[in-house]
Symmetry: C2
Subunit: 327 residues, 2 copies
């Protein structure tokens, strides 16, 4: 199968909302009146972002999910995406699975594939996603104010737990098979919090999505907003303890290890956001409307830096490093 | 240097036209009223699209140029781009050169870098470019009509000549050093025909950019338009014979080899387009206004397929294959 057959068979579908899709030099998009276009690109590299041999259907899902997560963090509604794909060889079974996982998630969000590129090379998936947001209403990293509450959606740390278990690291190697399967689903098929992001427009003062770990990513909000924060680690440990994995913090796993997964695990694709205390009711309503749990885990402070405390308000040493692709 | 330092040092610049650039979850773009957004993605892989060790400044130029060429083919004015970059390691000298070549071309076209991604992995450059075009005025592949003239901009085949010479293929191995240097510039630092594309709005009936070779790429126009074409090979040979390389067709090189470079060379990044015979004056004016030579090389016909003729109108056998990444 050649390059153009490959595109035609797996990645070309009728255009719905875009003016022009796959098959010309450019795709044509037109945001509705009063809308800005939100744009984000993420590149996934085999051996770096996913293991060789990862289920292609999950990989297709994840490649789009991590991009939709960026739209969610801006409160943008998904519109379209381009896919650039480097493949070592044309493997029909792999392409069939990959395109199925990719396009199922795309359909679920009304996000259409409008163009891209295919080439031979080490497996690399680069998606650029486009969403719409009313002009001036995008959730940014720069709006956090001292006194704002800090929230996180869903649960954290399971992806890291799965990664460690798959890499046979001591702390996670004892994970029961069933728990690993559930954690692995979080690692390999994350759920972008698009509905929550939309519901938080006009409610959250800042937001971003968690890809490299809570503390490191939260640092981006703090720097962009010129503020600091205090995080209650008795709340963050619940973000993994209350997960579907039902991991007993006092049981099988070392609490410090679970805290590491929660605070600096990476690959969570949950939203972290801030909102004024006066908006607690609106945050709860947004969570309910979007069917997404949110937890209040700390507070924005005027003094720069990130402080951790325990349930009694006592300082907790910060020894969690977040993920850096070149560190 | 970590991932975020790398982005800050080499790729973050003040935003000018975009509403929000590098450093948030998404960039925000807003096409002007009445404008559509033209979008294209191209991925360049080391060893496939460029040799290991290619001058990074030229590579930065080319990575954006091939994307701007897609905008040119649609008659879109460059606006912004995202860059996703997988690097084997952080090499300051390489990044300095790459970002210089990239951003110089970006500046020349008023096209700003608004976001992207960096990660570790086999060298891979994925750019998604955004341009503006008045709604309904984009040049498409599907508008060619029987009787239309077929044109090509600039010159063709030098990139292929350089590629063959660098790969020490017999037919091109004898290329004099000076000629190779000139041909190599075409291969490594192509000129996107943005001004010509803009000038052809409302003039050309169809257009595309030449990346895989004239005959193969022209086939996309013919299929999209449901037409055929007849190409005069005595005109196409001039596309290389009249190039800055001043190659004597009857001299150093076999005419058949040069014709192969011209018709199926690849990596030309010239525009091929069609226009009604009544628009010959308008085409000449567009060429002049944009400072870009154009040559009339054939005619669109109703019967499907691509026919080659010589100067006397006699059929010429078609034995030129265009480039396919998976063939």
């Amino acid at each position: 199968m050649g390059e153009f057959d490959l595109i035609a068979r797996y990645f070309t579908r009728p255009v719905r909302r875009a003016a022009l899709g796959v098959g010309d030099d450019c795709a044509l998009l037109k945001p509705a009146p009063g809308m800005q276009l939100a744009v984000s690109s993420d590149m996934l590299v085999e051996g770096r972002h996913f293991f060789a041999g990862t289920d292609p259907e999950r990989l297709g899902h994840k490649a789009l999910a991590v991009n939709l997560s960026d739209l969610a963090a801006c409160g943008a509604r998904p519109l379209a995406f381009t896919l650039a794909l480097a493949l070592p060889q044309v493997d029909a079974a792999w392409l069939e699975g990959f395109s199925r996982g990719l396009l199922q998630l795309a359909d679920a969000h009304g996000c259409e594939l409008v163009g891209g590129d295919t080439t031979q090379g080490p497996l690399n998936i680069c998606i650029t996603v486009f969403g719409e947001v009313p002009t001036g209403q995008a959730l940014l990293r720069s709006g956090a104010q001292p006194g704002d509450d800090i929230y996180v959606s869903g649960t954290l740390g399971e992806a890291r737990l799965a990664l460690d278990a798959l890499q046979d690291q001591a702390a996670a190697a004892a994970l029961p098979a069933e728990t690993l399967a559930a954690a692995r689903l979080r690692l390999e098929a994350p759920t972008p919090r698009v509905a929550l992001g939309l519901a938080l427009r006009g409610v959250a003062s800042s937001a971003l999505d968690l890809s490299d770990g809570l503390l490191g990513d939260l640092g981006h909000i703090l720097r962009a907003s010129g503020v600091g924060a205090c995080i209650d680690t008795s709340k963050t440990i619940d973000l993994i303890a209350t997960s579907a994995l039902s991991i007993s913090v006092t049981g099988q796993f070392d609490a410090d290890y679970l805290q590491q997964c929660t605070l600096a695990g990476g690959d969570d694709y949950e939203l972290a956001f801030t909102a004024a205390p006066a908006r607690r009711g609106a945050v709860a309503a947004a969570a309910q409307a979007s069917g997404t749990a949110v937890a209040r885990i700390g507070v924005v402070e005027g003094a720069p830096g990130l402080r951790l405390i325990d349930a009694q308000g006592r300082p907790v040493a910060q020894r969690y490093a977040s993920f850096d692709h070149f560190a």
